[in-house]
């Protein structure tokens, strides 16, 4: 019988636990280009333009943009409780680690399967970074 829930191993970068609805972006994310009052992505031509990332489990390939704007962007969202609940990435860089550390959002990479194949927007995802595990419950 097919299970509706799958559990996958991952690699912890910033610890903690977060769960929520998945929002998947195949393009890098710049937090500065979201509306700090709502969490709506307002970067023109971005595949998620107009979508709201607040309180989601955000799945994306990597961060982008200068360190100052990226960190300030996520920080501004966090001060209004609009940061993502957790972040699952394919590739990390220093700036993204610093951003997640400052706002205490769990950050993981190296899923044992390609996150873009197993997670889709709308799935319910639990990220237990401390244990190095994520659980995906398919939508519907």
């Amino acid at each position: 019988m097919k299970k509706s829930e799958i559990t996958l191993k991952c690699h912890k970068i910033i610890g903690g636990y977060g769960e929520g609805e998945a929002l998947v972006s195949h393009e890098p994310i710049c937090f500065y280009l979201t509306d700090p009052k709502t969490g709506v992505i307002r970067e023109r031509n971005h595949e998620l333009a107009g979508k709201n990332l607040s309180n989601k489990v955000l799945v994306f390939p990597s961060g982008k943009a200068s360190s100052v704007v990226q960190i300030d962007g996520l920080y501004k969202l966090a001060t209004r409780n609009l940061a993502p609940k957790a972040m699952i990435v394919k590739e990390v860089e220093t700036v993204l680690v610093v951003s997640a550390f400052l706002v205490k959002v769990p950050l993981v990479d190296r899923l044992e399967k390609d996150p873009f194949e197993v997670i889709h927007t709308g799935d319910i995802v639990k990220v237990d970074a401390d244990k190095g595990l994520i659980t995906v419950k398919k939508r519907g």
Binding site: S66, S67, I71, T79, V92, T94, V98, S99
Partner: protein, 401 residues
């Protein structure tokens, strides 16, 4: 990651909460990159800014009693007392800047407030292991000086300065310093503005990587190299580059690639530079102000501006600003350059940069600058970008073209 006994004590909080936070951040970065250990650094540069994210972390460390163990210099913010006299700086933003500057003082940083600290206030040596944030400083330190630093965030560089260590990863490891792109320069490079255009063209084409440039015919000047570093990080992320024969780490192209093949090759021609130049302009005609010193002007550049302005009067509708460090301004005062610039109607301002909220008065104005970086991060409406002599000419006439 292996941790020493001292690091374990820090992580338990025995050396205070601020120091613990700093090391926790470094450990997270080390985990992300699978670093096996921390390595000592001898200096750091924190790209401080008047932004909330920066304020949060530096105050967290300052309140937790952290102090820098190695010299840690700071990037431009702004002196509210100075700007309050000129413009209506928003209260909230002004307060952030004041608190950021106070907190860096509390953690015992070197208060350089300069984006080119490697010129005077905090100078790495060849081969030194350091942690220098500020995207224009990182490649200068790696490539021109030949010290080793990763592309750092302000917070990771500050944390490294507090602990005196950084995780061993990235550009601290020789194999990662290998060139990625072979760039043939087939363009006339006559002055520092040509290097500005070259940096922009190379950064745009490479994106993220380590370009190796050939075809450079003479030793670039300090200012030319500063501009190349700064502008290549506007459209790209270039933390290191090679100009074999002129930069220190590899004397040949082969050595720069460590025997490997380039991932990609391209040529930069005069036409490419001209195209970059044209692309940078968002307007022409009447200008409201000139903004120079992004990155901070060196003493030689301040002197050059003074020479061009000597005996002239700036157009009454144009404000004229040069951003530089306090160290440079002191020497420029001694040389009489500041006096000449002020007599013409211009200002030499220290401790700040265009990407700070203190310039709020220009939000609807047209600015001219010699820096594409200044134009990109502008807090003003429209931008004209051209070399210093053109900026001076336009400032006197009140318009460009």
């Amino acid at each position: 990651m292996h941790s020493t006994r001292e690091e374990e004590r820090i992580l338990k909080g025995e050396l205070g909460e601020g120091t613990r936070k700093a090391l926790e951040l470094l450990v997270a970065i080390g985990d992300a990159y699978d670093a096996d250990r921390m390595i000592p650094i001898s200096r750091a540069h924190a790209a401080s800014s008047g932004q909330e994210g920066d304020l949060y972390f530096v105050e967290l460390l300052a309140k937790g009693g952290a102090r820098c163990r190695v010299p840690t210099s700071t990037n431009p913010v702004y002196d509210l007392k100075f700007f309050d006299k000129l413009f209506d700086v928003p209260r909230f933003e002004g307060d952030v800047a004041r608190r950021v500057m106070k907190a860096y003082e509390q953690v015992g940083a070197v208060l350089s407030w300069s984006c080119i600290p490697y010129m005077s206030e905090n100078i790495p040596l060849y081969g030194e292991t350091v942690a220098f944030s500020e995207s224009s400083a990182t490649p200068y330190v790696n490539s021109v000086i030949g010290a080793k630093t990763n592309r750092e965030a302000a917070q990771s560089a500050l944390a490294a300065g507090i602990i005196g260590k950084t995780p061993s990863y990235g550009l601290h490891i020789k194999e990662n310093r290998r060139g990625t792109h072979l760039v043939k320069v087939d363009a006339a490079l006559n002055d520092e503005f040509d290097y500005t255009l070259l940096g922009y063209a190379v950064g745009r084409e490479v994106g993220y990587g380590i370009p190796v440039l050939t075809g450079i015919s003479r030793q670039p000047s300090t200012e030319e190299l500063i501009n190349f570093c700064a502008m290549s990080n506007v459209p790209g992320a270039i933390s290191m580059f090679y100009m074999p024969g002129f930069t220190v780490e590899a004397s040949t192209v082969k050595e720069a690639f460590q025997g490997d093949k380039p991932k990609d090759k391209f040529t930069v021609t005069d036409r490419d530079l001209k195209q970059v130049y044209e692309q940078l302009q968002t307007t022409s005609g009447k200008i409201d102000f000139v903004m120079l010193g992004c990155p901070h002007y060196t003493l030689r550049q301040v002197e050059e501006a003074a020479r061009l302005l000597k005996g002239k009067k700036l157009h009454k509708g144009v404000s004229f600003w040069i951003c530089t460090s306090a160290t440079t301004k002191l020497l420029a005062e001694r040389g009489g350059y500041v006096d000449t610039i002020e007599k013409a109607g211009g200002h030499v301002v220290v401790d700040t940069c265009i990407d700070e909220p203190c310039w709020i008065a220009y939000i609807d104005k047209v600015g001219m600058t010699d820096s594409p970086k200044c134009a990109y991060y502008r807090r003003f409406k429209e931008a004209v970008v051209s070399r210093l002599s053109d900026c001076v000419e336009a400032a006197v006439k009140g318009r460009w073209k």
